[in-house]
């Protein structure tokens, strides 16, 4: 856990795992809201950039949540 996208992917997936048991739709909602509320803009920008290059390593719920968040932004 050192370089930045890896760490952010890890953090995003960690958030995803908490919401996972609530089912896909609520999870997507929960994850995007959480990232919007707690991540500073530069972290969000970095993860969106990672998303644009395919979002390798992101769990499915998280991927969807970030897509959604990016559209809103």
């Amino acid at each position: 856990m050192s370089s930045s996208p890896d760490k952010l992917v890890y953090m995003a997936n960690q958030i995803g795992k908490f919401f996972h048991s609530q089912g896909h739709d609520r999870a997507v909602q929960g994850i995007s809201e959480h990232i919007w509320k707690f991540w500073d803009p530069r972290m969000r920008k970095q993860i969106f950039a990672h998303l644009d290059t395919g979002g390798a390593g992101l769990d499915p719920d998280v991927l969807d949540a970030l897509q959604k968040l990016k559209q809103q932004a």
Partner: protein, 958 residues
């Protein structure tokens, strides 16, 4: 100003609601049933002579000085042990009583040294007072007989004489002055709950004895000082009083150590503290304290305190002492330069949980309004941020639900990942008192804590593997749901039923049963079921938890699981129940309330909310950034990336307190300007470019908010040695950066906070002076504050059940790192120890030790006291081993109070999923024998010594 004299009513207050009327000395008096005649008389203003009674402990009735006459009753009963009855007619003074009392006093004085003039208690001695009160004029028995007073009598050794015991660093025990009233013994039992003292022997032979005739230091004594406070003579006396003399004025203030928030009278002579005496009206501590608050204030005048500002270009350079102006301008220029070069968001700051609410508020204001970004965080990040998240999601407020008094109504206490006997000692004493009255105790902790081992307390201990809290709590919920122990009426009325149903179906799954999870948690399923039944059905159930809950990768999930448990059993919304985080530092609650988190303005309101932000913009007269800023771990990452270059740290030692020290060192070294504002050259200061001297709690006005949400005054008793209180320094720094903040006194800062924060609208210094303290919310709806929250409904509306899936931490044991390390605290030291290590408290804890189970130790050839190498994936350090079965096989434990140990070199940067609160409580490690400090420790030590150099002052050649 004068000395605050608290009335001693002689016996404790009765809680009864039935009232009784009687006549004392011709006056009718009405008091609660169960009150002693002594107390009734005192409430009416009549002080009956007494020696063995004091209102902190139950009456014992041994001195026979407090005799009274009761019409229609034979004899002269002791007023301290005789309860009031309706219609009694009592006389407190008569010829017979006078004679009896004189006789009693004569006997006492005949075995007491007559060196009153040179005695340390002169002016504060109840024996002296009573001799005066009963009109003792001469003593018929000489001093030649048997006595405890003289080392020699008639030229021979006097076997009854005992030398002074000066082993405790803070108080002495001089047996020659003891009147064997047993107040100290009762204080130790009833108030403190340690049972360190006994009266050994009988009659003339009876003596106060710590343990089995040990020294105080060698005994079980934890140096709380309750016995010293209870002693009516100079037998147990503070060394500071012996040295300085009696105080002449006192000021009520609040302890600056832990989240209990004990109120003290600072007893002064001029600007010198003579002693700190816990204040009986303090609603958190009720006249009790621990060794830290009462005795460990010597750091405030320690010679290592830095009193002059210092600067340097590079951290390799020695420090240069400079004027305040020069230091502030240097700092401001650096920060402005960084912002020009790297952008507005390239600087930030960290507020302190040790500073006052007002100071914390100003630092976040400086950052948001002065720096123009939201890069503000606080060290609560590394301890209780999951509490804020978890409780606000489920209940709607980021704080504990009760006051400490609530424990007096509790029937079942569930402690999770907390060790109050060490970390929140005064609360522990109050809790133990309740346990001795019959309340049940369940402890969920990897280690057999002091709480489990305390005398006269029987605990059901569930020793779990570190990192499995969520699995254990979900299993408790499983038992409650599947065994039909749900408080359905409560859940239907107060909570969202469909969320509850989802949650109940989830926890009821077989895979969450105690039997199925035992393989991961290591907890005996039968014991777990038993614990669930006791908590759900044993009456008022209260949960207290600490850092063992929050400092995990599932910290927030665990807090949510705790809230679920309280809701499903209806244990919320009245005295005796609730969910209570035990906060580490004195003002953790306050620093969170004051908007120290990057995404929240004061009062926990998200920065993106336009309405709230606009209020602040109007008041502060600036435009605020509406995006959340960086949290501490994110700041470090951004520093290493090169986008975050300047940090202002007030009153925290992030290098020592944050996990993965190497990562923090790399981050701090990457920054262009680190400003440390503190009392001492702490570890973080080794990487700083500006050092601004801080002030202690004795040198400033302000407020702290304790773990009960109680706002209490901190009052200045001496001029700041460094010249300015911390709030003034922040104002000066802001000014140097071109941002003006105008306050003449911290009370004006509080007024601003009250104007902007709905839960604080009723708070002002005037209100605090009037009520002593208030618990927020304090507003029109609750003008006197709110002791118990969520009484008629949850703050968020309906209580929210949230599913808590157990997800094992990625910090796993394996062949290379087969043991799990968990960390904790001990009583005599505080946090990173910067203060307590600079007091005599070091006699109790000179170094951090590694606790290891005999089985694991033997496998590795480690003996008790050996140096061992402790290695994790993040780093390694060395310390000495203590072999004990307090920890289970596979688990090792250490404290983190000493910088030489650098326990955080070992901890990794895994963190809570929701808040990034670091996972201190689980690290996979390996232990092996070692010869001494690791290379890292040596290199670190070298850097620290190098970095702490201060250049000799040379006169400027102009």
């Amino acid at each position: 100003m004068s000395l605050i004299q608290e009335i001693d009513f002689g016996t404790p207050k009765s809680k009864s609601e039935a009232m009784v009327t009687l006549t004392i000395d011709g006056n009718q008096i009405t008091v609660p049933e169960g009150t002693s005649i002594m107390r009734a008389a005192m409430e009416a203003g009549t002080q009956i002579p007494k020696l063995c009674a004091t209102d902190m402990v139950d009456a014992f009735g041994s001195c026979r000085l407090c005799l009274v006459e009761i019409e229609g009753r034979a004899g002269t009963p002791a007023s301290c042990t005789t309860p009031v009855m309706p219609g009694l007619v009592v006389h407190t003074q008569s010829d017979r009583l006078k004679k009896l009392r004189k006789g009693v006093m004569e006997l006492y004085i005949s075995d007491h040294p007559l060196d009153c003039l040179t005695c340390a208690a002169n002016g504060d001695c109840e024996l002296q007072d009573m001799a005066g009160a009963v009109g003792l004029r001469d003593v018929r028995y000489g001093y030649e007989g048997e006595n405890h007073v003289f080392a020699k009598s008639h030229g021979c050794e006097n076997d009854s004489w005992m030398p002074k015991d000066e082993s405790n660093p803070y108080f002495t025990y001089d047996p020659s002055k003891c009147i064997v009233c047993s107040r100290c013994v009762r204080a130790c039992e009833e108030v403190q709950g340690t049972f360190a003292l006994t009266i050994s022997g009988r009659g003339f032979e009876s003596r106060v004895s710590p343990g089995m005739s040990e020294s105080f230091l060698g005994s079980e004594c934890v140096s709380c000082g309750a016995c010293v406070q209870a002693c009516p003579t100079a037998t147990l006396t503070e060394k500071s009083v012996i040295e300085i003399g009696q105080p002449e004025h006192s000021v009520v203030t609040t302890c600056a150590y832990c989240g209990v928030g004990c109120a003290f009278k600072a007893e002064m002579r001029g600007e010198e503290v003579v002693r700190m005496v816990p204040w009986k009206d303090g609603k958190a501590n009720r006249g009790h304290s621990c060794v830290k608050g009462r005795f460990a204030w010597g750091y405030t005048t320690h010679k290592e305190r830095i009193l002059k500002p210092m600067i340097r270009e590079r951290i390799e350079d020695p420090w240069q002492e400079v004027s305040w102006d020069e230091a502030l301008n240097f700092a401001a220029a650096k920060f402005k330069g960084i912002q020009q070069k790297y952008g507005r968001d390239a600087v930030g700051g960290i507020t302190s949980s040790r500073c006052t609410n007002e100071e914390t508020y100003l630092v976040q204001k400086l950052i948001r309004a002065g720096f123009g970004n939201n890069n503000v965080d606080t060290c609560a990040r590394v301890c209780h941020s999951p509490t804020g998240y978890g409780l606000s999601q489920t209940f709607g407020t980021s704080a504990g639900t009760q006051d400490f008094d609530s424990v007096e109504d509790t029937d079942v206490v569930l402690i999770i990942g907390a060790n109050p006997a060490s970390a929140h000692p005064v609360f522990a004493s109050r809790l133990k008192k309740r346990l001795r009255q019959g309340a049940k105790l369940i402890v969920i902790d990897p280690r057999r804590t002091e709480m489990v081992e305390s005398p006269h307390v029987k605990a059901l201990h569930l020793p779990l593997m570190p990192g499995t809290n969520v699995a254990v709590l979900t299993a408790l919920a499983h038992v409650i749901v599947t065994e039909g122990l749900v408080d359905e009426a409560f859940v239907r009325e107060r909570c969202d039923w469909s969320e509850f149903a989802d949650w109940a179906a989830f926890v009821a799954e077989l895979k969450h049963s105690p039997e199925a999870t035992a393989i991961m948690t290591g907890v005996d399923p039968q014991a777990l079921r038993e614990a669930a039944r006791i908590y759900a059905t044993g009456g008022n159930g209260a949960i207290y938890y600490g850092l063992g809950v929050t400092e995990h990768s599932q910290g927030s999930t665990t807090v949510i699981a705790i809230a679920n448990l309280a809701m499903v059993t209806g244990n919320i919304g009245r005295p005796g129940v609730g969910v209570n985080p035990l906060r580490g530092q004195n003002n953790v609650q306050g620093s969170c309330d004051m908007g120290s988190f990057p995404h929240e303005l004061p009062g926990y309101r998200h920065i993106s909310g336009d309405a709230v932000r606009e209020q602040f913009e109007a008041m502060w007269n600036v435009k605020l950034n509406n995006e959340p800023g960086l949290r501490i771990p994110n700041m470090f990452d951004a520093a290493i990336e090169g986008t975050f270059m300047g940090l202002y740290v007030q009153g925290e030692d992030i290098l020592q307190s944050d996990p993965n020290t190497k990562h923090v060192v790399a981050a701090l070294s990457a920054m262009e300007c680190v400003i440390v504002h503190d009392l001492f050259l702490n570890e973080t200061a080794n990487y700083a470019h500006v050092f601004l001297p801080g002030s202690t709690f004795l040198e400033k006005d302000g407020t702290f908010t304790n773990a009960e949400r109680r706002i209490q005054r901190v009052r200045k008793v001496m001029t700041p040695l460094n010249g300015y209180a911390d709030w003034e320094v922040t104002i000066l720094l802001a000014k140097a950066m071109g941002f003006e903040m105008k306050y003449n006194h911290p009370s004006e800062i509080m007024d601003e906070i009250a104007a902007l924060t709905p839960t604080f609208t009723g708070v002002s210094y005037a209100r605090l002076d009037e009520l002593g303290s208030v618990q927020w919310p304090c507003n029109e709806k609750a003008p006197e504050g709110t002791p118990v929250m969520h009484i008629d409904g949850f703050v968020r509306g309906k209580g929210k059940f949230i599913i808590t899936e157990y997800i094992a931490t990625d910090e796993r044991t394996g062949p290379r790192y087969p043991l799990l390390l968990t960390t904790g605290r001990i009583l005599s030291q505080y946090n990173v120890g910067a203060q307590t290590r600079r007091t005599e408290n070091v006699v109790w804890h000179a170094e951090d030790r590694l606790e290891i189970h005999p089985h694991d130790a033997e496998q590795r050839g480690v003996r008790d006291g050996d140096w061992v190498r402790l290695a994790s994936r993040a780093g390694e350090t060395t310390l000495r081993a203590e072999i004990t079965d307090r920890v289970a096989p596979g688990v090792v434990y250490t404290t983190f109070h000493h910088p030489d140990t650098q326990a955080n070199v070992i901890t990794t940067d895994f963190s809570d999923w929701a808040t990034n609160c670091p996972e201190y409580k689980v690290t996979a490690v390996q232990i092996s024998p070692s010869n001494g400090p690791s290379d890292w420790q040596k290199a670190y030590d070298e850097q620290a010594r190098h970095s702490r150099r201060i250049a000799p002052v040379v006169e400027a050649a102009e």
